[in-house]
Amino acid sequence: QDKTYTIGVSVPTADHGWTGGVDFFAQQAVDRLQKAYPNLKFVLATAPDSTKQAADLEDMVTTRNIDGLVILPGDPDAMTASIKKVKDAGKWVTVVDRALSQPGIPDLYVAGDNPGLGKTTAEYFKQAMPNGGNIVVLRGLPIPIDKQRVDAFMAGIEGTNIKVLDQQFANWNRDDGYKVMQDFLTKYPNIDAVWAQDDDILVGALKAAKEAGRDDKMWFVGGAGMNQIIKMVEAGSKQVPVDVSYNPNMVATAIDLTALHFVANAQVDGTMIINSTLITKDNAAQFDYPNTPF
């Protein structure tokens, strides 16, 4: 109990709402645990790209002598080699959300479920429009997790009469969500539903539809569980009947478990999947975290 441990936490820079949430929950967990366990020290670093994130890992090992690492790799494929180096240096490794391109590296993998998000959303669309309908898809950035979500969604609505009129990238960003939606509205006279894939995009898309006076003719599904959207679902909004969780909070879970490994050497290794569940009016309350900036 007297031995002190240093845990490195490496997360992406808050370059959009969700990663902002990740940073927030990571910071929160670190502060909480440092109070709770005097013999735990944390090193928190945020990285805008994999070059920086790789550098952060090197620095943590070389200059901060970490005993364990919790990492949410911005670009898992690019980070695999660097994370393997940490592992080979004999450190405990917890990977969050995104799967590395090489199996068997992490001691603990707290997996986000990107395909799951697409699948769950597809399920809802199927039961919400049994006789099919016209929908548009606003995607994130052209990176793998976006692809996983969209592919799973497409597979999910396979064989139904749900027709995807169009899909464009809205870069997980409100302005682009707004622009793309505006143009979709110009382009398609009747849209029955919109999958915005992420709640930041959703905010923009909603605004566009509202301005065009067509927000009551269609409904929207976002993703991730941004507080502002959760509140709408909770209030039983017609435009936003549900949301699909993809909770940045998972990073806190990972940090907690890793901490437990060191202070209580509890059995925490293995894989733990954080499911993307459907958030409805009924269960929204349990996703409505107080004073989150996300």
Partner: protein, 337 residues
């Protein structure tokens, strides 16, 4: 002899005028071609609604790019405009929210927030200007630095997440974005007003002349008793003020700001300025060209969304190509410094 002197000076300024007309043609030509392309691709392209959408969207970067035209004409550059806009939007939200309890959610709070936004912009811009003129640091470096600083500040203020405007306050505020003056959306009205004033300032005021002179040859300007540093600083302060104005219009749009707000607006603004025919090395600038440039950039995005031919993966490539072509239509008047 004097007669001879007059004779021997052959050509009237035909060359000059011609070059100008050609230069002017460039951006307009590109605009025209894009309009035709858009109309061909989608029947709804030429609708009033779509055009209004485009211009309204263009207004934010447009207002900023107008400021950039002054900075660039004077031989400077400002990379910090995007993150400055995000920072100011965040500050406005924080200030308004903090005032609502005491002053209520009416125009009182909102008005103060707006004023604060403009002032912060002015100060931020002036700070850039001071570092460039008094500090004698390359503008590229100064504003690359302040880009980082402003971006970090908004992230810090938002605690990594998103700042949301108080709901009643945003009801008060929103007309400033979604409202109309004589059937014209407010942002468009403001954009046009700013453009007109700026065009006049550029062509008809001593300020406009002096920045062109400074951009063309700083030494000459200094020897002509022009207060070079003061004028320079003014262009950056003006840029800051206009960034503030853009932020003031942006806040009511979503009532929020976060670290991804206005990312890379600086590149779009500069691109618009150059597409418009202003020379990046300074000495010559034209506001109306910048306005056309901004519209061109918005048109590209709009057209890409209205068509189904190009894979979304290739959007950026299409954009890049158009930008090059737009400028190719008006060869860069490269005057050796």
């Amino acid at each position: 002899m004097s007669t001879a002197a007059t004779e021997q000076q052959t050509p009237p300024p035909r060359p000059a005028r011609i070059r100008f007309r050609l230069g002017a043609l460039g951006p307009l030509l590109a605009l025209l071609l894009l309009m035709i392309l858009g109309a061909a691709l989608n029947g709804n392209f030429l609708t009033v609604a779509n055009m209004a959408n485009i211009v309204a969207r263009a207004s934010f970067i447009g207002i900023i790019a107008i400021g950039a035209t002054f900075v660039i004409t004077s031989g400077g550059i400002d990379l910090s405009v995007g993150s400055m806009a995000a920072f100011i939007a965040g500050m406005i939200i924080i200030i308004v929210n903090s005032l609502v309890p005491s002053l209520g959610a009416g125009w009182g709070s909102v008005g103060i927030g707006i004023a604060a936004g403009l002032v912060i912009g002015l100060i931020g811009g002036a700070a850039n200007g001071a570092l460039v003129t008094i500090g004698r640091i390359e503008p590229f470096i100064v504003t690359l630095g302040s880009l980082g600083i402003f971006r970090a500040l908004i992230t810090f203020l938002a605690n990594g997440g998103t700042l949301n405007l108080n709901f009643q306050a945003s009801d008060t505020y929103s007309p400033l974005y979604s409202g109309s003056l004589l059937w014209i959306p407010v942002p468009i009205v403001i954009f046009v007003l700013v453009a007109i004033v700026a065009e006049v300032a550029m062509r008809r005021t001593t300020f406009g002349r002096h920045i062109a002179a400074i951009g063309s040859n700083e030494q000459v300007a200094r020897y002509s008793a022009i207060k070079v540093d003061r004028v320079r600083l003014t262009t950056y302060a003006l840029q800051g003020l206009l960034v503030g104005l853009a932020a003031v219009l942006y806040v009511p749009k979503f009532g929020s700001a976060n670290s991804s707000t206005a990312v890379l607006w600086e590149l779009q603004a500069i691109a618009a300025v150059i597409i418009g025919g202003t020379t990046l090395r300074g000495g010559f600038g034209r506001i109306w060209g910048t306005v056309v440039g901004v519209i061109i950039l918005e048109l590209i995005g709009n057209i890409l969304n209205l068509q189904n031919l190009i894979s979304p993966y290739l959007n950026q490539a299409f954009q890049g190509a158009i930008i090059i072509i737009a400028v190719l239509l008006q060869r860069s008047r490269r005057t050796t410094a």
